[in-house]
């Protein structure tokens, strides 16, 4: 009994430990979510209590007066444009790197992977100087190319390694039938890559949606800011009203959280594969 009892209590301790960490991870997020429905007064009376009534006014204020709708729209535009370009370029590049051996292939491969290692924040000032000299700052499309560049390495890598797992025969048959490179690429290979492409889309979307420093320095006009930068403005305006701040935070992370809850298996799998490669 003693040994068995000891084992049971060890198990209980470990279960409790894991549960404690999960709570530490999730509670701050939940706290922000439910507190965002309180009035400022309810919040200052007891910061931890659940709201007794739902005060949705915070959301209306955040969305309209705080202009978060505009930042969300900008983020959606930048993300969508960048993701499409990233997938297109990443797919083609990944395909060529995995299927053909040619002069300069290894140099290119290393160059793209180097992009995962180089501390991108070292490029903040250099990129700003380049953009300023070329008058590319502060445009709706200013952010697209940087976002594509930083999302590309992971996509290229995921596609390149996925290609290794699909047999070459289909493409061979297509070529034998006289199909061109382009039509083989998009009619035959692209559909076969659907699973990995969707992982690529989700992860690039998350990274681009969350990107902060380049959005901070390349965009100056209020009307063009993306949500992470817009949120910092919003927070600056409402520093004293905590529930109001929290509503803004919730609005800005809701898309990310929804995507995560729907697709977490894919996201975890893809991010880990990419991280280990980098």
């Amino acid at each position: 009994m003693n040994r068995k009892g000891a084992i049971t209590s060890v198990k209980a301790v470990f279960n409790a430990l894991i549960a404690a960490f999960s709570v530490l991870c999730i509670f701050p997020i939940l706290w922000v979510m439910y507190s965002s429905l309180k009035t400022q007064q309810q919040f200052s009376v007891n910061i931890l209590s659940l709201p007794t009534s739902f005060h949705f006014q915070n959301y209306v204020t955040a969305f309209w007066n705080g202009k978060l709708y505009r930042y969300l729209g900008n983020s959606a535009f930048v993300s969508a444009t960048s993701v499409v370009l990233t997938i297109l370029i990443g797919f083609i590049t990944g395909y060529f790197l995995s299927r053909f051996s040619f002069k300069g292939r290894n140099v290119l491969y290393t160059m793209f992977l180097f992009g995962m290692l180089v501390p991108v924040y070292g490029l903040l000032v250099p990129l700003f100087i380049e953009y300023r000299n070329l008058h590319l700052l502060d445009h709706r499309l200013s952010l697209v190319l940087p976002e594509v560049t930083f999302a590309l390495p992971l996509v290229i890598f995921l596609i390149e390694s996925f290609m290794k797992s699909i047999p070459i025969e289909m493409e061979e048959a297509a070529y034998v039938d006289g199909a061109s490179l382009v039509s083989t690429l998009f009619r035959i290979v692209f559909p076969m890559c659907r699973p990995v492409l969707s992982t690529c889309i989700i992860i690039s979307f998350l990274n681009i949606w969350n990107e902060f420093p380049f959005a901070l320095i390349l965009i100056n006009t209020q009307e063009l800011k993306t949500i992470p930068v817009g949120l910092t403005n919003f927070v600056g305006q409402y520093t004293v009203n905590y529930p109001q701040l929290m509503a803004g935070i919730v609005v800005s992370i809701l898309p990310v959280i929804l995507v995560y809850l729907l697709l977490y298996k894919r996201i975890i799998q893809g991010m880990v594969a990419g991280a280990v490669k980098g």
């Binding site: 060529f96 290692l117 490029l123 000032v125 902060f212 420093p213 800005s252």
Partner: protein, 296 residues
């Protein structure tokens, strides 16, 4: 990888690869070259600039603020290696056990912070640390530990640790999943034969799990270093590097110099210095860990 398709002409291949190469050149290589160029000038963004040779670099080497921010990067990195990897490893080992309840749930929850924008993580922790309305001080008050209550983000002595905790908090999930994947690849026979030799609990972890995960641990340490050398977003929104410069990291210093004081020449030199230091550290850790290199 076995057979290859018959290779198209080189010009065909490169015309398909051109968009990727161009984007890369435009966003990574040209800016890098430009900033190497500008790092030899004293330039505040205006029309006139003075060539000063290596002066920016000799100034950088003697710049106490720059090395102080580098030191902050190092503090964060070391704490993250210990905190993130340590906690993630322990949790991964426990989560391996069949008798842990709700494993899928824990995995999903622990990974959630990884997908949040770092800016938002910063804001959430600002609220947690807040003097009067923060959870942390609230909990301490509840436990009658008033003497522990601190201005967490305003005390220069502790601020660097206060800004590290959110970073650790956010990334534990990533390493947890990496470690869990690696643990699953250890064949169970290894443990079974160890058990027959009388190894239990901690001994199994120490003599089997750790050595078998050597490569993964190496990769994780490298990720941790490269991630923390470029840390910026959360500290930017939490303290902006303050009070004073007490929580300034390299990226923040480059930002302040370039966009606060508009010393773009010197800012370029800092950026180049930052890139060299980070790449150096990454390569060094790779060498030390004996980890695999990136194989084309």
């Amino acid at each position: 990888m076995g057979k290859k398709l018959s290779t198209p002409r080189l010009t065909t291949i490169y015309s398909f690869l051109l968009p990727g190469i161009l984007v890369y050149a435009f966003i990574v290589f040209i800016p890098l070259l430009l900033s190497i160029y500008f790092s030899f000038y004293k330039w505040n963004g205006g029309l006139s600039k003075d060539f000063i040779g290596f002066h920016n670099y000799s100034q950088l080497i003697r710049d106490a603020k720059f090395w102080f921010s580098f030191r902050n990067n190092m503090i964060i990195t070391v704490l993250s290696i210990v905190g993130q990897l340590g906690i993630a490893f322990v949790l991964a080992v426990i989560l391996q056990a069949k008798w842990v309840r709700l494993r899928e749930f824990h995995r999903t929850v622990l990974f959630l912070p990884v997908v949040l924008p770092a800016v938002v993580v910063g804001f959430i922790w600002n609220l947690i640390y807040s003097q009067n309305y923060g959870i942390l001080n609230g909990v301490l008050k509840g436990l009658h530990l008033q003497s522990w209550i601190h201005p967490w983000l305003d005390d220069p002595k502790i601020v660097i640790y206060s800004v590290t905790i959110p970073i650790i908090w956010q990334w534990i999930g990533l390493y947890l999943i990496i470690f869990m994947a690696s643990l699953q690849s250890i064949p169970s026979e290894v443990y079974e034969s160890a058990e027959m030799d009388g190894a239990t609990g901690v001994k199994k972890v120490w003599f089997i799990t750790l050595p078998m995960m050597r490569d993964t641990l190496g990769v994780a340490v490298m990720l941790c270093i490269s991630g923390n050398m470029k840390i910026f977003d959360n500290i930017f929104v939490m303290t902006g590097g303050g009070p004073g410069i007490s929580s300034t990291v390299m990226a923040q210093y480059a930002y302040n110099t370039s966009f606060g004081q508009f010393k773009l020449g010197y800012g370029s030199a800092i950026s180049i210095g930052m890139i060299i230091i980070s790449l150096g550290l990454i390569l060094l850790s790779r060498r030390l860990m004996g980890g695999r290199s990136v194989e084309p």
